[in-house]
Amino acid sequence: MAEKTALDVPFMEVNSELCKGCQLCLAACPKSVIAISEKLNSSSYHPAFYTGAECTGCGLCFYACPEPGAIRVYKP
């Protein structure tokens, strides 16, 4: 079996500049794989970020997020 590449696994990513730190994506994620950063973005929000593993690509965080461009979810 070929080795798994990055694009074989689902992931989510947050555009930390567009995130408003509302934490609704955290509440929505069935896998609890989203967290809030200690750092502030340039609009003074603590942005969400993907902790890096076990995202299933379900997309629920995307729909829970009010910002059009803050979350991108990839599902192979």
Binding site: C22, Y63, P68, R72, Y74, K75
Partner: protein, 473 residues
């Protein structure tokens, strides 16, 4: 493979938004408007409708819909979005038209438009974002505010006896026969959100298929107005709001209505048809070659109701129209049929007329004293003021205006009835301005006066008014 990302239903960059941050919305953190926007943009794009969609935004936090949606956009006056949407849809039946509204907009100031648009079964989608508060103006009570809920106008909480109960718009509209589909959904937990997404897609599909009116009420959070953080807002929404605003389908006739069976259309605006109508109107006055106009007339005629002020305006307009000039006539009168005040604005111009209102006339006719007091100052320098000196006692003491005095009512009385004083004034007006030849005006009057037995008396009245002014010169 699937990616969930910003839909092409949105502009790639929100250029119309002021300030920096042209990729983020103007909404507060956790605001439900953003979720609803995302679902609408996605649906319009996925269903291939975006290029023929028109988004009508309300007054409320979503007033800036045109920043975001990559389609046609209107911003309507507060509460009037469904009326604007009706006009857009009827004149462009192929367009997908969305009336997007908040609870203050839809259920307070716009209640009448909401009900009647639904009752007519317009083939549009109404997306109603119910966040139980006036978000934009800082958190006042809305018709949908919950009993006990604090707002800036209900600081001790909404009280039934004082403020009434929260209004359930979906249930109310579902009692009407015309709507096709009415559902209430919520931006609550993920299950609610996915159902909301489905409802929005369904409503748009119904419209695209011409199956009629859809109303999707979306219970949504306003963390700022509610003074709660976003996550608690969604919890409160689920635990408290959904008790009062139960989710579900209240009406679904989509299966029973045939495709394109529910189009309310009116023919698209066609300038040729307007011309045709005006020509027909003109031909009732008898054919005439165009007659030149010396100076554009911007007139205000004012007096008591019953003096024929409005008719005076109509007659001058008809003369101008028959002469091939551009004309407008715009009446304004009080609630009384007689004895109240009346005035009208009339433009007779060689070129196109922008507004039918005349605020600064170059010609004023006053047939009572209050009108002289009210309007004399508005006449432009060098303008003319014609005064019925039988009735109006006042005179101008300035030389700023040209003053033409004519005892119009007394002359009319001699002719046979004071009722033709307005036509005496018309004669005086034509004489004072030399706007059109006397014979041309008399010919037009003959055609315009419908009651044959009155034609001679009116021509007599016109002639006396005309001569009075010419002889006084």
């Amino acid at each position: 493979m699937k990616t969930y990302e910003k839909s092409a239903g949105f502009f790639p960059v929100f250029e119309r938004k002021s300030g920096p941050a042209k990729d983020a919305t103007h909404y507060c953190p956790g605001c439900g408007h953003g979720n609803v926007h995302k679902m609408i943009a996605e649906a319009l794009n996925d269903l291939g409708l975006i290029d023929r969609s028109v988004f009508v935004s309300p007054v409320g936090c979503s007033v800036f819909g045109y920043y975001y949606f990559n389609c046609g956009n209107f911003q309507a006056a507060h509460g009037r979005a469904p009326a604007v949407a009706t006009a857009v849809k009827r004149t462009n039946p192929q367009a997908i038209v969305i009336s997007y509204q908040g609870d203050g907009d839809l259920a307070a100031i716009g209640t009448a438009e909401t009900i009647h648009t639904a009752n007519r079964g317009e083939n549009i989608c109404v997306f109603f974002v119910n966040n139980a508060i006036y978000g934009m103006t800082g958190g006042q009570m809305a018709p949908t505010t919950m009993i006990g809920q604090r707002s800036t106008t209900t600081p001790h909480g909404r009280i039934e006896a004082l403020h009434g109960n929260p209004i359930r718009m979906a249930e109310m509209l579902a009692t009407l026969p015309a709507p096709t589909y009415i559902e209430r959904v919520a931006i609550g937990d993920s299950k609610h959100i996915m159902k909301a997404r489905k409802a929005i897609r369904k409503a748009l599909t119904i419209q695209a298929e011409g199956r009629g009116y859809s109303f999707v009420e979306i219970v949504s959070a306003c963390p700022t107005g509610w003074k709660m953080d976003p996550v608690h807002s969604r919890d409160w929404l689920i635990e408290e709001m959904l008790k009062v605003f139960p989710l579900g389908v209240f009406k679904d006739e989509s299966e029973n209505r045939d495709e394109n069976s529910w189009l309310r259309r009116c023919d698209a605006y066609d300038p040729a048809k307007v011309d045709e109508y005006l020509d027909r109107l003109k031909s009732t006055l008898g054919d005439a070659a165009p007659v030149a106009l010396t100076n554009d007339l911007h007139c205000k005629f004012a007096g008591f109701g019953g003096q024929g002020i409005l008719t005076l305006g109509l007659l001058l307009s008809q003369i101008g129209m028959r002469a091939g000039q551009h004309v407008s006539w715009f009446p304004a009168y009080g609630p009384e049929m007689r004895g109240g005040t009346a005035n009208c604005s009339v433009n007779v111009c060689g070129g196109r007329i922008g507004t039918p209102l005349v605020d600064t006339p170059n010609l004023l006719v006053v047939m009572n004293q209050p009108s002289l007091d009210a309007f004399a100052d508005q006449v432009i320098d060098g303008g003319t003021i014609i005064i019925d000196s039988t009735i109006v006692e006042g005179r101008l003491d300035s030389t700023r205006l040209r003053q033409v005095l004519i005892p119009a009512t007394a002359i009319a009385d001699e002719v046979g009835t004071a009722k033709v004083a307005n036509v005496v004034v018309l004669g005086a007006l034509v004489a004072a301005t030399d706007c059109f030849p006397r014979e041309f005006c008399e010919d037009t009057l003959r055609a315009a006066i419908k009651k044959r037995s009155l034609v001679d008396m009116n021509i007599d009245a016109f002639g006396r008014g005309y001569e009075f002014v010419k002889n006084a010169r």
